[in-house]
Each structure stands twice: as structure tokens, then as C-alpha cells.
Symmetry: C2
């Protein structure tokens, strides 16, 4: 009888679980370990019972082929031992790290409790889109249930919670809380998908749920954080911020309103800013950025993102006019730089273009002017930006957007040059929306840049729409082809001109070789160029 | 009793199986289908009972994300129907193609026999190295045994034959022949590994084996062909040529000698030639190649490969001297072009360099000369080559080798510019060996190019060994680090200088960003740069 009473007491005793939504750096075992230890010590002091870190938080996500390197997993085990020896016995922690047994590697959740180390091995390994987990890991096949402060808690990892089967097994035997640790990258609409999925699991199991996500950017991925708790009635009772590190205590009692009401432009813009900031700061070899301004909307938005990411004082904006550059472009570039208080330089490329033409004259004699000459201008600008980058230690930000990268309306080794391309997954229509959104915070992009007709200004009186349909039409076709992967027939059925669809989709396929050599940039769409899109360069596929 | 006799008669009747070692083009459903139909008709006429094509031969390998595109699989099914309707009922054929059922995609072998279509679904899906099959396919789980001319034949696909379990199940029930269809890419030593594996399977099962491989190149992969037959005593009784399309009849009677005695340099050289040829010809938008000669060994070998791939008459060689270019380099470049009868031009870059310096002067005032100025030279050369490429419709071949790409001793958008990089996976030591080998056929590379001290000639009296260890030492360290994935500690233990190893391995990791934007080039090593090596750019891993 006394035992029963004790149990009841234990059960009613509340447990204090904190979510540590951290931003680890891939491969930075020292730094990530120190962050875990420090946050654990702070949590212990404030009386936390269980502190939960994201998936693979000890090594960062995605570690890619570092996992295959000799010594990597041993280094991980050394750090686990260090963490275990350092933290107090009076707090339990969960974090993600790889675990190797009998030469088999798992994507595991580590529970350290009372100096003991326990493991859960991820069962559902994503191997689609940007994910390659079956390249590295084997699937676990057992649920993991542990007790903490008398509560029965089940532990799963990310994709495990996206189907009913694993959770239904994990949540039986009187489990009171399910904890899922995640490294779930941002894309438009992803957060509401996550909530929808977890709601399903909660409705199926009637169990409280804690969703712990990573935050921060890694190469082409941005992790948005937005970790949350949902009680057994499927009400959200806690949500951590988007795009920021945070540590917060879980409650299952009072339903809250989500910040999902932010305009989508704000969320996307914040994702691009964090992606740019983290790429620059985690690769700590750059003292700032250099951007080629053109007076157009893409470079204007890129400059705004860069300024919000690392501060205007670290930026050099370079305008490189030639005879096709309009006065409006020159004026607007200068106005924006002045408004933003960004260091601005003009480098006229006339004499450089002339020197190329002179030296190529013999070879090109009697031949017509064509895109060759346009590309020379773009490549001179790329070379100038790279020279400034090399000399000053600043990274070149590429200003290409997704629409032009899709159809190849961009010069390889020219305007495609650069270390990072913030707009790589942002189509032209969205570029305009983001520029307008950014101007609602403070007017830094001249209105005329947003309003005027887009042009590459590489030839006399050139306009993008000379060789492309309107961006509205182009982006609609591109979305159906690239993101939905529709056949040409299917796209035409949606009401688009047959010739236009055939022309555009063929351009997309023909320009795979350019994208293969393009700079990395943050994924924000359901199908980004980069590791998410793996198309052959050599292909005769008729879509 | 009569039945028994009939059966015996059937069993003793010989079956005529032909191997069709073809070179399909990825996504070229029309072309590949026509090739399959044509070869089948020819085989039927010569009395062949069963004609066997390679893995995924209807669509080419690897199809990558084409498999995810709406309509792709339907197009495949239409072609299968066309083949079935077109070929004679008196011949059976096997080819590889994807098969979709209930929204699940398989990597399948199709058997068309008597107007019926049968399937085997690959069970063992490779998802390591260059392979991503679990991204697209589900595993089959059943063996497939069929009869042809009274023989019991079992069918498997590629990786299925690399372990005992699948073959042991496939080969029971009186199977007399096992056929494996493959798309197995070339790498050094791969062919003997294949033979070793199949020998094991034959020894385990005492069953005749037919190994049908694809030939031809696709982007970064080269398929070497070399299909073979092995009888139940584990003797090779037939081998098809390396790097060539061929159709040959299987015999299990007389053991043959392999052509494995070719020097390895010949095999590698032939792989590079086929890779370059197929990349250019399958992407049929180029009328030839343009190569920047430097007077050094890399461009000399690249020129030789290009000539053997597409013929000297389609090549433009461009020498772009600057003040650091030695007379020896100028002479040797010209001698090689003349010897080979290749169209040769010199473009002096002095005035272009001067024009850049003039325009950058204000920004760089008071700053020291450094690698910025070296990179400007390289980028001017890259821009000139790309201009010639754009104007004349010739593809630029990049001349960078694996050693310099590994440590970043190469200029992004400079000498790295180009559509294809034949030496991307060839380290410097091997570059010398291949040049010497090529000269044994005909002396086209001046001996002095092979003998002299390597230099990038981007600064006064520069030599590669000013900033790098000897190439012998460098390549040894790189092989241990990149191919073996050894830890730094392990490499030092092999007898290398600690400081050198740390310096070199850190350079490899630091230059991941350059490789991410590099041109494609053929895989020949067990770990090529490209899709086989997936390293994060942002990483603080200490190897």
C-alpha cells in the first residue's frame, strides 16, 4: 500500500524538461561538446531534470562523408565520455550523435542519466530530397523507453515520427511523454507540415509530445528551430522562436497561439539572412562580403540580406558600369549604398572589355557579335569581384536568382561567380515580394529598382522579356516543372502555351551543366537546386 | 518414358546466348529502344535464342532524378510495349529498365519471351560511393528463374551477385546458368574485383555464370564493359572488349586468357579517352574542343586525350603567355601542337592584365602583391577560353589534375573553368605515367615537358614545390587521406612528416568549396571528387 502511494506521489511529482534548441557547427566536436556541457550546467543550476538537444547535435547536421572518415566516430565517443564525466548526476540529458557497433553505424539519440549512457537508434532513415541517411546509417529496430522523475518517456528521432507505426510501438506501455529530436531543415510550409504530422501522432497515441529541432544554417540547409510541445489533447503549449538559439521549459498545460501568422515573406527573408550569416561566420576566414551591384533588383535584395546578416560595415559594394549600363542603374545602385551607408566603389570596365576585344580580334575576325561579348562583360565583372575578394578577404555573394539559374539566363564564371548565392532558391517573383517586404522595415531599396523593367544590360536596350516570357508566367511554369516534376503535357494542360512550355523546360534541362558548377545557396523551396536536385548533365530525356 | 526422353533431349540441346554490351545514352528512350530492337533483329537472324543487355540499358545509367519526373516511367512502359510488339517471338531478350507497381519503383530486369513480359526486381541496392539507388528504388525480395531452350536460368542484377545469400537462393532448383546484368562503373582494379566476386559465387553454386556489363561514359562515370562468361569450374570462357560496344556469343567450353595483362596506364588512358569522347558526343552541342596550353604536363596530356577522343581536326589549342611564361613553355606548347597538327593560337595577355591592374589600382593602393594577381592571370585565361568556346561552339577542357584540385592549387573561374576535366581524378604522379605511356604509341608530348620541374608560372621563378612537398610525397598523403580516409595520426604513423600531413590534410578540407564548383571529370580511382565525395564545405572537423 505504501508502495502504491509512493508511486502515485512520484507520478504526480512534476518533471522539469527543458528544450535546448542549439546551433551546432558541423564537425566542431570541441565547440559543440562545450556548448552541450555549458547549457547542461546552467540547466542543472535552475533545477531542470531533463535537457533535450537536437538530432546529431554533437556533430552538426548533415555531417555527410565526415562520417566515413577514420577516427571521426572515435572522436565522438571521446566527447561523449567527456560529457558524461563533466555533467552533474542530478540532471539527465539527451543529444544526438552517431553510434557504431560491430562496424554498423547508427543515427542515435544518447541519454545520459546517472553516469550511464543509453542509446536509441533511429529506425526511419530519410534518403530522398536533401537526405542521404542510408548512405551512412543502418536502421535501428527497437523502441526506447526510459524513466525520469517517475515519468515514462519514449524517445524517437525525426523521420520516426512521420508515420504511425514506429510511434504506436514507441508509445505503448504507459508512456506519458514522447520526445522527438530533429534536424529538420526549413522549406516553405514545412513548419505547419511538422505540426500536422505530430498532431496526428498525438491523436493516435493520446500522449504528450516534445519536438526538439535544430537551428542554424549549414551550407545549403537552414534549420529553423521552432521546437514545440503539444499536449495529449493535441494543443500546442510551447513554441520556441524561429531562426534563433533558445532554451525553454516545457509545459503541457496552457495552449498558446503560434507565431505562424508572420507573413511568409518575413520567414523566408529571415531564413536567407541566417543562411548567409552562418555560412560566413562558420567559415571564419572572411572579414566581410563584396557584392557587385547592377542597379537591378537581385543585387539590391542581396545587399539588403548581407547587411542584415553581418552589418553594413563589413560590406563592399562594387558597381562596374559599361556602355550598356543605364544612368538609372548607376543612380539607383549609388542611392541604395548611400542610404544603407555601405562602402561603394565604381570600376568602369570599358578599357578591360576593349583589351579583350583587341586580343580576340584575330580569332573572331568576320564573325557576328553574339552572347560571347555579353559573357565577356559578365566574366570581367566576376574576375574583378574575385580579385577584390582575394585581396581583401571578403566573400563574393552571387546575386543570381532561381528563375535565371533555371533557364541558364546567367553567365558561368561571370555573374554566377561567388562563394554563396543567397537567392539561389528564390525565384524572380519572390525576389520582388521579398524586396517589398524588406522595405516595410526600412526603405533601403529604391522604389524605382522594384518598379522598373528587368534587364541584364549586357546589350543595347536589352530586356529580360526579349527572350523570356513574363516572370509570372516563367515562374509558374518552372514551379510546375521543377518542384512538381510535371510532364510537359501536364503543364500545357494547365493553360500554358505549348511552344513556351517546350522552350522553357528544354532550357532547364540544357542548363544542368551550369548549375553543376554554381555556388551554394540556401534551400527554401520543396525542390532546391543543389544536392536536392540530382539531374544528369548528359541526357536526351524529352519531358 | 517418352516425356523423360524428350526432356533429356531438350536438356542436351544447346542454347545460344549472346551478350549485347551496349552504350546507351541516359534518357534517350527512343535511341536506346531502337538500338535494342535492331540488335535483337540481327541476333534473331543469326539464330540466337537469348540476347542479354545490361542493367537499366533502356534508360541509361545512372538516370538520377529523371526517375522522379512525371511521365518518365510511362514513357519506359510505352517503349517496352513497342519492343515487345516489334521483335520476333523466336528470340528471348533481357534488358534493364525501371518498373513501377502500386507507386513503388524497382530497378528491374525485363525478360521478353513469346510476347510475354516478365520481371525480376533487384534486391541489393547500392547506396554508397557514386550510387544512390535507395533514393529511387525499393528492393525486390524474390528470385527469378525461367526456362529457355530447356535450360533453367536465374537472373540477377549487379550488386545482387556481390554477396552469397541472394545468389545461393537464386541458383538452387536446378538452375544451370546464372545471368547478371550490370551497370558497373570503371575504377582502377574494379575488373579483377568483379571476376573475384563472380568466381566466389561460381565456386559456391557450381553454376555457369554470365556477366553482362554496360559500356560507355555518362558524366563522371565510365563503364568499361569487359562482360564475361565463367563456367561452373570457375574458368573464364569469354570476355568482351574493354571500352567498346560488342555483341558476342557465350560459350562455357574453352577457358581463355584475359586481356588483364595490359599495362594499367593503357586501361586508364582508354577510360579517359572514352569519357571525354562520350561527354562531348552525347551532349551533341559542341563541334570540338578548345584547350589552354601552358607548356606544362597537364595541358599536354589533356590535348593528347582530346585528340584521341575526337580527332585533332576538331581541336583549338590556345597558348596565353604573360611575362612569367618561360620560353621553354612557349616552345614546347607550339612543338606539341605542330607535331600533332592541331590548330594553335597565341594570345598575349599583357594588355588585359594591365587593364585590370589599372582599374583595380585605386582599391588596392598601398597593398602588397599576393595570389590575387596570380588569380587575375588565370581568370583572364579562363575568360578568353570561354569566349572562344562561346563564339566557336567548342567545349573548354579543363586541365586541372587531382593533386592540385585536392589542395586547391588551382584558380576557381581560372584554370578550373571548363565543361569537362579529363584529369579530375588523375593525380600528378599518374599524369606523368600516362604521358609516358601515350608517348609509347607515338611521341606527341615533348620529352622536356615530362622532364622539367612543374610550375604554374604565375609569379617570377615559381615552382610547385615552393609551396608543396614533392608530388610523390603529396600524392601518397592524398591517397591515404582521400581514398583510404585515414586519420592524420594514422598517416603520420606511415612515416610522413607531422607538419606536412597536417598542412596538406587541412588544405584538402579547406578547399571543399572550390571542388563544389568544379567541372565534371571521369572517376578512375576508388574515391573520386564529384558525387562520390560528399563533404561539407562548412566544417571544423580536425581529421
Amino acid at each position: 500500500m505504501q508502495n502504491q502511494l509512493e508511486k502515485l506521489a512520484n507520478n504526480s511529482k512534476s518533471i522539469k524538461i527543458d528544450i535546448a534548441q542549439i546551433n551546432p557547427i558541423v564537425g566542431d566536436l570541441n565547440g559543440n561538446t562545450q556548448k552541450i556541457i555549458k547549457l547542461t550546467q546552467e540547466a542543472y543550476i535552475r533545477g531542470c531534470d531533463l535537457l533535450v538537444f537536437p538530432e546529431l547535435s554533437l556533430i552538426g547536421y548533415p555531417p555527410e562523408d565526415l562520417l566515413l572518415h577514420e577516427g571521426f566516430v572515435q572522436q565522438v565517443q571521446d566527447k561523449v565520455t567527456l560529457i558524461n564525466q563533466t555533467i552533474s548526476n542530478n540532471i539527465s540529458i539527451i543529444f544526438g550523435a552517431p553510434y557504431k557497433k560491430d562496424d554498423i553505424l547508427y543515427n542515435s539519440a544518447y541519454l545520459i542519466q546517472n553516469s550511464q549512457v543509453y542509446f536509441y537508434h533511429k529506425q526511419n532513415l530519410p534518403n530522398y530530397g536533401v537526405f542521404d541517411e542510408k548512405r551512412y546509417f543502418e536502421s535501428g529496430n527497437e523502441p526506447f523507453i526510459f524513466e525520469c522523475q517517475g515519468k515514462k518517456i519514449s524517445l524517437v528521432i525525426c523521420e520516426d515520427a512521420w508515420t504511425s507505426d514506429i510511434i504506436s510501438i514507441s508509445a505503448n506501455k504507459g508512456v506519458q511523454i514522447i520526445i522527438s529530436i530533429n534536424a529538420s531543415p526549413f522549406q516553405i510550409g514545412k513548419h505547419s507540415q511538422r505540426i500536422e504530422q505530430i498532431k496526428q501522432r498525438v491523436l493516435e497515441t493520446k500522449t504528450n509530445f516534445i519536438y526538439v529541432n535544430m537551428v542554424g544554417a549549414q551550407d545549403e540547409l537552414v534549420f529553423d528551430g521552432a521546437s514545440f510541445a503539444m499536449n495529449s489533447n493535441a494543443n500546442i503549449t510551447l513554441q520556441l522562436p524561429l531562426f534563433k538559439e533558445a532554451v525553454q521549459s516545457v509545459s503541457f498545460t496552457s495552449p498558446i497561439t503560434l507565431f505562424d501568422t508572420d507573413p511568409i515573406e518575413k520567414t523566408i527573408y529571415d531564413a536567407l539572412v541566417l543562411a548567409t550569416k552562418d555560412y560566413i561566420e562558420k567559415n571564419d576566414v572572411f572579414n566581410g562580403v563584396v557584392i557587385g551591384l547592377s542597379g537591378g533588383i537581385d543585387s539590391a535584395l542581396t545587399l539588403a540580406i548581407a547587411a542584415d546578416a553581418i552589418g553594413t560595415e563589413h560590406i563592399k559594394a562594387i558597381m562596374m558600369p559599361y556602355k550598356y549600363t543605364s544612368n538609372i542603374s548607376l543612380e539607383d545602385a549609388k542611392i541604395q549604398a548611400t542610404t544603407m551607408n555601405v562602402d561603394y566603389h565604381e570600376i568602369n570596365i570599358h578599357i578591360i572589355v576593349d583589351s579583350f576585344n583587341t586580343q580576340l580580334n584575330t580569332l573572331f575576325i568576320g564573325m557576328e557579335t553574339d552572347t560571347t561579348e555579353e559573357n565577356i562583360q559578365a566574366r570581367i565583372r566576376g574576375t574583378l569581384l574575385m580579385a577584390i575578394s582575394n585581396k581583401l578577404g571578403k566573400i563574393v555573394l552571387t546575386t543570381s536568382n532561381k528563375s535565371e539559374i533555371a533557364v541558364g539566363y546567367t553567365t558561368l564564371y561571370g555573374d554566377m561567380s561567388g562563394g554563396f548565392a543567397p537567392l539561389k532558391d528564390v525565384n524572380k517573383t519572390l525576389v520582388y515580394q521579398l524586396a517589398k517586404y524588406r522595405n516595410t522595415i526600412s526603405t533601403i531599396i529604391p522604389e524605382r529598382v522594384i518598379d522598373r523593367k528587368p534587364s541584364a544590360e549586357l546589350a543595347p536596350n536589352q530586356a529580360d522579356q526579349d527572350s523570356l516570357p513574363s516572370y509570372n508566367e516563367l515562374d509558374a511554369i518552372l514551379t510546375l516543372f521543377i518542384e512538381q516534376k510535371y510532364s510537359v503535357k501536364h503543364i500545357i494542360k494547365q493553360g500554358f502555351n505549348e511552344q513556351t512550355v517546350k522552350y522553357i523546360t528544354q532550357m532547364v534541362l540544357n542548363n544542368e551543366y551550369k548549375r553543376r558548377q554554381s555556388a551554394p545557396g540556401p534551400k527554401i523551396s520543396p525542390n532546391a537546386f543543389g544536392k536536392e536536385r540530382r539531374y544528369p548533365m548528359t541526357s536526351k530525356f524529352q519531358p
